[in-house]
Amino acid sequence: MIWRQVRRLIRPFVKWGTVLSLTIFSLAACSLVEIEDAPLTTFEPAGPFAERIDAIFWQVFWIAVVIFVVVEGGILLIVLLFRDRKGRKEPRQIHGNNKLEITWTIIPALILTVIAIPTVQGVFELTECDDDAMPVEIIGHQWWFEYRYPELGIETGSVLAIPVDREVCAFMTSADVLHNYWVPHLMGKRYLVPGQETTLKLQADEPAEYWGHCAEFCGLSHSLMRARVVSMTQADFDAWAAAQQQLAVPPEPDTPAAAGLKVFQEQGCTQCHTVDYGPDFAGTNLVADELYNGPNLTHFASRNVFAGAILPREGQTHADGLREWLANPPGVKPGSFMPDLDLTHQEIEDLIAWLDTLQ
């Protein structure tokens, strides 16, 4: 019969399917131990809070591994031992065993008690900020993070700069929908809720750059709402802050940069974007309306990523990223509030030249 032949053909594949899935399983288990080049991984904590979480995770993980092996091994053993074979007697009709049942109620309860202790400790240690932490305000927008340093008078976006070895307390809220701030190397997640303030502790050990991502679904381009945190030594941070506190320097007349500034003003970009040239600047008002808050561009060129930390792409220069973005923002980030202004090639080049002056 055809069926029998088909069956003979299929049988090894059916068995192989199991073998394959088991192989993948164990491969995956190996990859759990060693993950390379995953910039958002939770396994490379780079600060005391993330390290604390990591330690709790591994404690629970190994307990779970033991339970997994015992229970799944038990199931496998039962399947092998008690499968119906010739000569196997009818089983005794056992309805239960109180001692056994009480045992396997109490043992899990005890294991959970063991797990509960670091959990509750961790919650209380890691939820509330220290009083002397450095305050930072994080405001979520569709689809980028705005950062403000209330003590330093700095406003910036997409890249958060922090000093190493110092607790940073993020006071967070949202301008529109729920967002969720997550930099896995430094700490777990916390929501940004419109109309409410939430806090998140962050701290880094070494100067480095960390990836982040908005973790709560926040509308059309949630996938493209990313974040960067740059940690630096206290001296570097102080220098950075001093530079950020400077006013922007107006471009020389009759340069491409001056033409770019003109495009910026004439196209109405100032409705959303602030560039702080100070009160003496002989131009139009470059302070944005609070209602339409786009990123503050005063020191745009000092940031290595922009547009919600999605540009420039890997292998792309900053200028190329800007070319892609300015040509059609909603094309890069669907639903973007920054409209496609039908800029000419020349206008885009001038804007890039001008943006480059905003160090």
Binding site: S31, T42, F57, D84, Y191, F217, G219
Partner: protein, 679 residues
Amino acid sequence: MTTTAERRPTTTIFRRPRSTTGFWSWITTADHKKIGIMYGYAAFIFFLVGGIEALLLRIQLSAADSTFLTAAEYNAAFTMHGTTMVFLFVMPISAAFINYLLPLMIGARDVAFPRMNALSWWIFLFGGIFLYSVLIFSDPAAPAGVEGVPGNLDPADNTILGGMPDGGWFGYQPNAGPFYSPGTAMDFWALGVQFLGLASLISSVNFIVTIFNMRALGMRLLRMPVFVWMSLVVALLLLFSLPIIAIALFMVTFDRQFGSLFFVAEAGGDPILWQHLFWLFGHPEVYILILPAMGIVSEVLPVFSRKPLFGYAAVVIAGAAIAFMGFGVWAHHMFSSGISPVAQAAFALSTMTIAVPTGVKIFNWMGTMWGGRLRFTTSMLFAIGFVAMFVIGGLSGVTHAVVPSDWQQTDTYYIVAHFHYVLFGGAVFGIFSGLYYWFPKITGRLLSERLGKINFWTLFAGFNLTFAPMHWLGLQGMVRRTAYYPPEAGFDFWNLVATVGAFIIAAGVLVFMYNWWRSKKHGEPSGIDPWDARTVEWTIPNPTPEYNFGVSPTITSLDDFWHKKYSSDSEGRPVRRPEAEETLEDLMETGINPPHPIHLPAPSYYPILFAAGIPLVGWGIIFHTSLVGKLLILVGVLVVASAAFGWSMEPLEEPHEEHDEDHSDQPSGSGYSSYGSDA
């Protein structure tokens, strides 16, 4: 002098339907079996729809920065995948099992309120159609009642797929509210889920009353099969949790249609309130999805181990305990929402506590198999698969209760992996186990075991290939609900593996469909007791006669049917009674030729008519600013009101030419017609 006609009012809009076969018999039926079968087929069709949505998601994610779907299409696909699988597949297919089996397993001829049962089925079907009618009626303009902010709408995304609801199956506010999800799509979602909830609420009342009032003689509560117990627990969960989501969804509808601003922060509303309400329903909902499958597995494992369920009382109590505690753990979905450390600690502890009864169940199932004589039928394989996979989902579930870990894991693919292990590896495997086990009750035939084995192993391999890698993806930092990830994030390989796995699952489902289609006509005839079963639903012929039991059974013990077939020897091993074959023949005989006339619930037009008015009201509310919308509301309300009136005037039973006064043994409150040797 009173006459029969005066005592029973016959002023009714329609004459009583009379078809017993064919199209109209299905439309007007009040038979729990026909309703169960319709529930099952409809749910399976929605399973395929949700599955296709899942495949679209997996194709999109198979490579970095893929452009297979637009962002709008991706968001719509994951929203509808979740909504469909929860509300249109797992819940109704559980309703299918409960509808078909509950009366059979307690020795009843139908549920307590047969026409109400039909009503809940038709509301479910029309609710599902209403939800998917968004494909035709989606209007990208702002909702009628409230001015939207059109700024973040991309007209290019108004494709057919992109026009579906896109605020997530969880509908988090304010993103799913009037200002950030303009258009009518989320209104279809809110009202559609509302109607589906109404259907479940009606059937939950019906099931509770049925279990308490319709049990056969001797079927004490602690002699009920575990599946019946789990049905009772699920019905109680539905009864207490659905009103919460009903109110929350009305608040959303009012926000969107009438500007009530419940969840709008700028007006003093609270977006987090929605999360509390949603998960106060949503977590019991998780147990609503899994407990019926646990009930199925608790029936299948003993039969194919040839042993009684180990610790019957413990399994029942554990199920009830899970349900009760299920109302006290909702905030573990919100550990990163900024709730206070005290609240986080409290919900962490309550969540850990719920793992104890769950563990008890797992160990009792293992205890059932221990020392048994295991027959690896497809049904048994799925049941064992359920236990093995549920353990993995349970363990990852406990890690969510470890709050600091959860801050890292929540909203990542780790969570996606976790709940697919409990809902696919759990609920769906349980459902497949039940389909293979009870198929003969519907058709009188067996599903092919050869195809069944292929079905199981492809599903098992595909399932693990798809969802196991998601654990590592989540821990590597892959965020949920994202349509794109950059190539340098390092997510490519495991996503590709998961996509391959998803297509293997699809192949497994196709094998199942072929098996079903083929076995319905050509399957091996099952006889009365194909599995050497233990419970009372196997004491009647297959397929189940219309009247279920030729003679109402009398129950003397737990696993009553088994004890009719087997006595035990001095060691406690079962010995087949010499009269067992004769007992089976007798059962067959009385099942086919009932000795007494039997009264059955009479069919009625009113349930489907009542249900048909509801989507009209729904469309009317969504388009209420237009004249058409107002008319639709009016027509819908009139349809519902007249159906309810006609229903109330419909005689409980047809006047009979003979033995007209002989109905004293029938439960009142529903229509019955007679069936049997002299009817």
